[in-house]
């Protein structure tokens, strides 16, 4: 469980991006952090991913402040897929996945290879193993990036705007695919794409001006938003 407690983050230029935000991400399911651009949702994601340190409040992972965790332990429990994916272009899909297995989890080359291949197959993208990132489509690249994160078997996986490079038809396929991945981990999806959130998430928050405006079951959150 991840608990965000009264977190605030102000950038060096004085912009107050996140202002006293609290929320809880459950161990299971898909959780959506929604909001328009500038609502502070990506800043919040960067705080949860420990790329930014909030000036106020705390973020707890299973009761422990993430600021007190060792980097390598934290990274293995909380995965991140960036908006621009940041796949490594000089490595093929399989090698992209093997790198952390070998260097972070200390697997041998053959173990890493077998494990990565196993995940790709379970995610139904085994045929992409030998391709380089430039050789796969936008939708496939998104799945590869998620597969790469899942290789470390994290408890949580943060996805930043996963649909920004996908067209409508691909988005719907992708939402379906993501729902099937719940057995692997729980997802926290940061998105401005409300229909996509509706298709995937069970619960969510809607942020505006650095604060939580609505939260709860996703259907309720969206209904309340419609009413406003």
């Amino acid at each position: 469980m991840i608990e965000v407690q009264n977190v605030a983050y102000t950038y060096a230029d004085g912009t107050k991006a996140v202002n006293d935000v609290s929320m809880t991400f459950p161990e299971q399911g898909i959780f959506a952090v929604m909001g328009l651009s500038g609502s502070g949702k990506t800043t919040l994601l960067n705080c949860i991913a420990r790329f930014l340190s909030p000036q106020q409040g705390a973020i707890l992972l299973d009761g422990q402040d993430i600021q007190d965790m060792k980097e390598v332990d934290f990274r293995q429990q909380v995965g991140v897929v960036f908006q621009h994916l940041n796949l490594f272009p000089h490595l093929n899909v399989l090698e992209n996945m093997m790198l952390a297995l070998e260097r972070v989890q200390g697997r041998s080359k053959s173990e890493a290879k077998a494990e990565a291949m196993d995940i790709l197959k379970r995610l139904n993208i085994g045929e992409l193993a030998a391709n380089y990132p430039a050789q796969v489509s936008g939708g496939q690249a998104q799945r590869v990036a998620i597969a790469r994160g899942l290789a470390l078997k994290p408890k949580f996986m943060l996805l930043d705007e996963p649909t920004s490079a996908l067209d409508a038809a691909t988005t719907s396929d992708f939402a379906q695919w993501l729902r099937e991945l719940q057995e692997f981990t729980s997802f926290i999806i940061v998105t401005h794409d409300l229909p996509f959130a509706e298709q995937t998430a069970d619960q969510g928050v809607f942020m505006a001006q650095g604060q939580v405006q609505e939260q709860g079951r996703l259907t309720e959150v969206l209904q309340n938003l419609d009413r406003c």
Partner: protein, 420 residues
């Protein structure tokens, strides 16, 4: 050369011919690259300040030569005002003309071969050189050049040695006196400058197999120097490139040190660096050439590596960090492999530039391709042909390198590497 061999024999010294440029010949003597110069050097008070001369072994003087057709109709140097008269760079004639005939347009060229080519094409009116040397060279090259007018002045030709070497000077003087006495000197003069006897000699031609061997050997030397300099440069360029990129904390002083050094190397002519290392630091020609070209290659390749590192998307490092990789692993497995691939095409351009720069080391008397071409030209007097061949030999290596670089660049772009 006959004089030098004869003297060497008489003083029990090994005579090893060192080829060098005329304009740096005294500097080379002072830097102990060789011990004496037997090359028709005139005895002048200025030169006597820095070196000692042997007793004169022949007397000659400055002579004006013109084309047999004599389109400018000049019959002495005093008729040459406003006309172009060539001299070899660094020879005494240049000073003399500028002082005594300020209205003559003095053209300084690197070698007799260049002067001959210019006069053949009638791009100059004539040239001034030593009367005997000029007569000999003209005859051997089979050129239609003739001496006109009186000698401009007479001069004594001696052998310069360093002032701290009186023993050698004494030995040379003894040898010269003996050669004069037993008629050896007379015979040598006869052979080179005498009429009739040598006019049918074949000194002006060279066997094609000899030419080919000289060119190939020279090119092998060029390639060898380039390769050694490349290895040195590349090994130094990697840490330098890193230091140029990262300037945090304790690396800061080193960063600025490398920055300054690289800027200095890139901002100064390689020729000066080469002469500095050779004559200033006193290194032997080969180490001087490899060190200079290697350091120069380092400077350019370090910049290329820096640019490569800078053009890797920062998201790559972040992506690797999100996977829990250590800073060293992030650099080693994610950032560096991409930076290096991006750097390959410009690095190959550096290799091409380095290969071409080896031509410069000819001036520090390394027998590489250009030097060998010059030595062939000094006999055949066909600069157009042999400089073209030398150029083509370089191109035969650089062209495939350039094509390969294009291919690598295309494949890198196809793989979607950061590229700005």
């Amino acid at each position: 050369m006959d004089v030098s061999r004869e003297i060497a024999q008489r003083i029990n010294r090994e005579s090893r011919i060192v080829a060098t440029e005329w304009d740096g010949i005294l500097a080379g003597l002072l830097a102990e690259k060789y011990d004496a110069i037997i090359g028709s050097m005139a005895i002048t008070p200025t030169r006597q300040e820095s070196v000692d001369f042997s007793t004169p072994y022949y007397h000659s003087g400055a002579q004006l030569f013109v084309h047999r057709d004599n389109p400018d109709k000049v019959y002495s140097i005093s008729e040459c005002n406003g006309l172009r008269i060539a001299v070899v760079l660094g020879e005494t004639y240049q000073h003399f003309l500028e002082e005594k005939f300020p209205d003559v347009e003095v053209v300084t060229l690197k070698s007799a071969a260049e002067i001959f080519a210019m006069l053949e094409q009638k791009r100059i009116t004539g040239f001034v050189t030593d009367r005997l040397v000029g007569a000999w060279q003209t005859k051997e090259a089979g050129r239609p050049f003739v001496p006109v007018g009186e000698m401009l002045y007479k001069e004594r030709i001696g052998i310069p040695v360093r002032k701290d070497n009186p023993d050698l000077l004494g030995q040379i003087n003894t040898a010269l006196a003996a050669m004069e006495d037993d008629g050896t000197m007379q015979r040598i003069h006869q052979r080179y400058f005498g009429l009739g006897k040598t006019s049918s000699s074949k000194l002006g031609t060279m066997e094609p197999s000899v030419i080919a061997t000289k060119l190939l050997k020279g090119f092998a030397v060029s390639l060898g120097i380039a390769l050694a300099a490349l290895l040195l440069g590349f090994v130094l360029a990697i840490p330098s490139g890193l230091l140029l990129t990262f300037q945090r904390g304790s690396l800061k002083p080193l960063h600025f040190l490398v920055r300054g050094f690289v800027d200095f190397i890139r901002g100064t002519p390689v020729l000066i660096q080469l002469l500095f290392v050779w004559l200033g630091l006193g290194l032997s020609p080969f180490p001087a050439a490899i060190l200079t070209l290697g350091i120069c290659a380092m400077a350019y390749m370090a910049e290329v590596i820096r640019a490569g590192l800078m053009s890797v998307d920062p998201g790559q490092d972040l992506g690797a960090r999100a996977l829990g990789l250590s800073p060293l692993d992030r650099f080693r497995f994610v950032v560096w492999p991409q930076a290096f691939r991006i750097a390959i095409p410009p690095l190959m351009n550096c290799v091409v530039a380095l290969l071409k720069d080896t031509a410069l080391v000819s001036i520090i008397s390394i027998p590489e391709l250009i030097r060998e071409a010059q030595s062939i030209i000094s006999v055949t007097f066909e600069p157009g042909l042999y400089y073209l061949i030398a150029g083509l030999m370089f191109f035969a290596v650089t062209f495939p390198l350039m094509k390969l670089s294009d291919r690598v660049e295309r494949s890198i772009k196809a793989k979607g590497f950061a590229h700005d």
